[in-house]
Symmetry: C2
Subunit: 121 residues, 2 copies
């Protein structure tokens, strides 16, 4: 049923052609999905080293800590990797209001798709 | 605080250079994150039309319904899009055992990263 990537305990993340891997950020207090963003190897290492979520900004080409300006930092509880090691799921505990989205909302997923249009939820 | 992509109710998904958009699949019964995979416009349309999760297989270059061989299908409850419209969050209700992973596990995220190695969770 499995191949080595599926069942190995060696961490061999599949970074894409831009050196990035996607990370789903989930609130450990109630399992809400807060956001999805990309890490490079440096951002993942900083996240592990500091215990706080870091990302790689493609537009600014810069490592940044989530919340470094807003104060909305997220403490890492657990980092999981999926079966083919091309996506991370990181459970976090919010350290401030818990608003992960740059719009000030808790979650970046605040619109639902109905047919061809969106509705706020 | 916002730009048009953030606040519009027009659905303008940002497919990547391969015509794909990532989709986080979340179990609506307990908010567990089951998997992350990619949809193209055709897979998203089929998901909306049928009410069941469809993906685009990059390796087989083929549209497929999740569970079409395993029987583990997932009924769509809600499709959300994130602030910059480059990721979907789809809440589902499992129709069989609820094992989303091709390894037979419920979730694809069954290994935690501790230092440089993984542990089964």
């Amino acid at each position: 049923m499995s191949n080595t990537t599926d069942e190995t305990l060696a961490f061999t993340p599949k970074f894409d052609e831009h050196g990035l891997i996607g990370a789903v950020i989930q609130d450990g207090t109630d399992n809400a999905v807060l956001m999805f963003a990309y890490m490079n190897a440096e951002a993942l290492a900083a996240t592990q080293r500091t215990g706080f979520i870091h990302f790689w900004s493609r537009s600014r080409q810069k490592l940044w800590m989530k919340g470094e300006t807003s104060g909305e930092t997220f403490k890492v509880e657990d980092i999981k990797v999926d079966c083919d090691q091309d996506c991370l799921l990181i459970r976090v505990t919010p350290q401030s209001m818990g608003n992960a989205c740059h719009t000030g909302r808790r979650s970046c997923f605040y619109r639902s798709l109905n047919g061809k249009a969106l509705t706020f939820t």
